[in-house]
Amino acid sequence: MVKPKVAIHKFSSCDGCQLAFINLGEPLLVLAGLVDIVHFAEAGPVDESAKVDIALIEGSVSASHDIERLQKIRANSTYLITIGACATSGGIQALRNMADTNQWIRDIYANPAVIDSLDNSTAIKEHVKVDLELWGCPVSKRQVINAIRALLFGVMPEEEKDKICMECKRHQTVCVMVTNNEPCMGAVTRTGCGALCPSVGRDCYGCYGPAENANTQALANRFEGLGLIKDEAARRFLFINSGADVFYQQGELMRETD
């Protein structure tokens, strides 16, 4: 039997989501037995233009040459899955979308003309069709393995859209907002991480992006009730997933300074 082919591609990112594979340990060798990993530059195999059954994409579109490369990957792939915040919403570097990037380049580089950088950092779905999004900064091993396993069984993986709050309740984690006045984003953030931040006693900062039906305005009101000024409350939404519509709109509504 021919093994399904898998490729893992990187765009603008920190490489952290690829570690969901590299950190698998022995299961990585098992995975390599189930599928043929034809392109995964960080781990070794390189065949960027191979036709594959599943392409996983880390990173956001951020330079002019990214777009054409992405279109080729799409044309060569049956299923295209984004892994992580960068690929799914533009990531932390989408914070530049609210600023004058050209000024930043001039501030940093002596020779700005040679820097290839688009004004905005954008999600993969802004440019090509995406079959499945795995949110998170970073994605977890469980998420990526679940997704590949489901596809090997011939079904689409189930998307997790619940709120972190639900997960805290299931874990019986004490609420950090109610008991400790922490400005926790759990009420509007999607599950998938395992509600890690409240489990260590701190506020969630939204790295898994918006949950479904997120009532961001109610949470923003609560943040103000906790004593956050508007800008501080805005920055809760404008952080790792500032490119996600629901967070962006709430953040922009509250932002007072540029």
Partner: protein
């Protein structure tokens, strides 16, 4: 070409891991150009830190690197705590060392097994290597997993851990989790010993070079979070004096700034640390080093892989000590009031010193940030090393050998572009001939009935070179042989938009066109059409040049599967031979 080095005063942000390439030119047995290009798009971390509260900093800077987020969190925490005059407790200090042991362990084990060892054992990657070296790979993955679990003990996950706060940790780990890890750490010490001895048996190239090692140094311990910055050439400064000796510059071929020490390249990372701090290692680790055939301090960068393994052993001994003495605390994080000021942080990331500077206003918001990662510090040294290493290897070696050796050299530094250097795209120009490794074999075994070599030009002087090459090909025996097997060899006069019609149905097309005289003195340039992102206009002397035609073909989806342009600026037998070698197996 504006590739001169320019000094700048404004700091960079640049995270440097990511995409890189190597440009190398050899003329008359001398390297005349060597550039390690880093073209990972900038991500502007230092800029979007401006205006954010101090408490967002650890979670922000972690995102610079998925492989060493702990290092970024640690340098940032120390810098900001120094502004707020927070004196951390012995418990916090000890736990930060333990946290850091986890990161070194996972990062070093990852690099040794997944990135570097396949080089020295002749495999393309660790998955291939695991078929023959299953136990070694499994041992490596086990050490890496243990490192990740130590980070997770405090951070709840190993990539972008969430437990770090300015002033300490969100929570103290419970004793049960600590004891479980202690057992694994104790058991893993033997794995580290075996790993060091295994690496010591590898046939590593002999290549001693003169370079400056730079690391943190602390009188009482092997350095992690604290110490003075020292070198083996007499430097000995406190971390706040970094900017008086170290200067960052922007060079055109890199989105990572280059950093120089008093104008010179220098080395940071495991080999520099072992060279400067071997005396601070635990007795058990020292005893192992004394029994090796490899000696430290070493001036051979290929010994970095062993230095990394030595630090794995150190990290396990240090972690064991800290875990044995572990007590749960009531105060994992200190409270404080934000203050205005400037602070510095410098800690030893797995790849070397990571220096941060922050200005904070009285409300606790960042007004400016400077981050100098290890890879931007090593980049000038890497270029220097490749140059020396290739010279001692011999510049007459085949392109493949030169490339593999250059890749090995680069990987010694474990740059965060390790990922990219695994598919290092080396453009080698030897005596005026550009050899692009991706293209040299593109036409081998092509279906000759669907293949064409087309000389493009016009009757104008200087623009007939493509035609003249075709004339020579038509009289060449090997070319005639290819013609008999069905390949077309023809001339076209400024085909422009008609090119698409002419090459319709062909799979493989090689276009020969004149390039501007004096174009770097080249007589032959192969251009991968897919690399023509912004077609350089000067590549053709035609008014409606080939690049425009090809861009059009590509946009109309009419281009053949394999299409290469060869630019020539003189007619010679060697050019003809080069062209034919692209089609015929030697």
């Amino acid at each position: 070409m504006s590739n001169e080095t320019i000094k700048i005063n404004v700091p960079i942000l640049a995270r440097v891991e990511g995409e890189g390439a190597l440009d190398l030119t050899i003329e008359n047995s001398e390297i005349t150009e060597l550039k390690l290009r880093i073209y990972e798009p900038p991500r502007y971390f230092e800029k979007f830190l401006e205006g954010r509260n101090y408490y967002d900093v650890p979670d922000t800077v972690a995102r610079i690197c998925g492989i060493c987020p702990v290092a970024y969190q640690m340098s940032a925490s120390h810098a900001i705590e120094s502004i707020f005059q927070v004196e951390i407790t012995p418990w916090i200090r000890a736990m930060r060392r333990l946290f850091y042991c986890g990161e070194w362990l996972q990062s070093h084990a990852l690099h040794i097994h997944l990135l570097a060892a396949p080089d020295f054992l002749g495999f393309n990657n660790a998955i291939e290597m695991s078929a023959q070296y299953g136990n070694e790979v499994r041992r490596g993955l086990k050490l890496q997993a243990l490192g990740n679990d130590l980070v997770t003990l405090f951070g709840a996950r190993s990539v972008h851990p969430v437990g770090v706060k300015i002033g300490g940790f969100s929570r103290a780990p419970n004793k049960k989790a600590v004891d479980a890890l202690l057992m694994r750490v104790t058991e893993a010490k033997q794995d580290a010993v075996d790993l060091i001895h295994w690496l010591d048996t590898l046939e590593l190239p002999e290549d001693n070079q003169d370079f400056i090692s730079v690391a943190l140094h602390h009188d009482n311990e092997y350095p992690f979070n604290e110490g003075r910055i020292i070198s083996d050439h007499g430097l000995d400064i406190s971390i706040d004096k970094f900017e008086t000796h170290f200067k960052e510059m922007h060079v055109a071929h890199s989105t990572a700034l280059h950093c120089l020490l008093d104008g010179k390249p220098y080395l940071v990372g495991p080999l520099a640390r072992v060279n400067l701090n071997a005396g601070q290692l635990p007795a058990d680790t020292k005893a192992i080093i004394n029994g090796l055939k490899t000696h430290f301090p070493s001036k051979n960068m290929f010994h970095s892989i062993i230095a990394r393994a030595i630090e794995i052993h150190f990290a396990l001994i240090e972690a064991e000590r800290l875990l044995i003495n572990y007590e749960v605390t009531e105060q994992p994080c200190l409270s404080f009031e934000p203050k205005k000021g400037t602070g510095y942080g410098c800690t030893e990331a797995p790849r070397g010193i990571l220096w941060h500077r922050y200005d904070i206003d009285k409300s606790g918001c960042v007004t400016s940030a400077i981050i100098v990662p290890p890879t931007s510090q090593n980049q000038p040294r890497i270029e220097q090393d490749i140059r020396n290493a290739l010279m001692s290897l011999g510049l007459d070696k085949t392109k493949k050998e030169l490339q593999l050796h250059a890749e090995k050299v680069i990987r010694n530094y474990d740059p965060c572009i390790s990922c990219a250097t695994h598919f290092l795209d080396m453009n080698l120009v030897r005596d005026g001939v550009v050899e692009n490794s991706m293209l040299m074999d593109l036409f081998k075994n092509a279906d000759l009935s669907k293949t064409a070599i087309i000389g493009v030009g016009s009757p104008n002087e200087g623009d007939r070179l493509g035609w003249q090459i075709v004339d020579m090909l038509q009289q060449n025996e090997r070319a005639v042989e290819l013609g008999k097997k069905g390949m077309s060899i023809l001339k076209l006069d400024r085909p422009g938009v008609a090119l698409g019609e002419i090459i319709r149905g062909l799979d493989c097309v090689l276009l020969i066109d004149a390039v501007k005289q004096g174009e770097k003195g080249l007589s032959f340039i192969q251009i991968d059409v897919d690399q023509l992102i912004n077609p350089p206009k000067q590549i053709s002397t035609h008014e409606y040049g080939l690049t425009e035609s090809i861009t059009l073909l590509r946009n109309l989806k009419m281009r053949p599967e394999k299409l290469v342009i060869v630019g020539v600026n003189k007619v010679s037998k060697s050019v003809v031979t080069k062209i034919l070698n692209m089609f015929i197996n030697d």
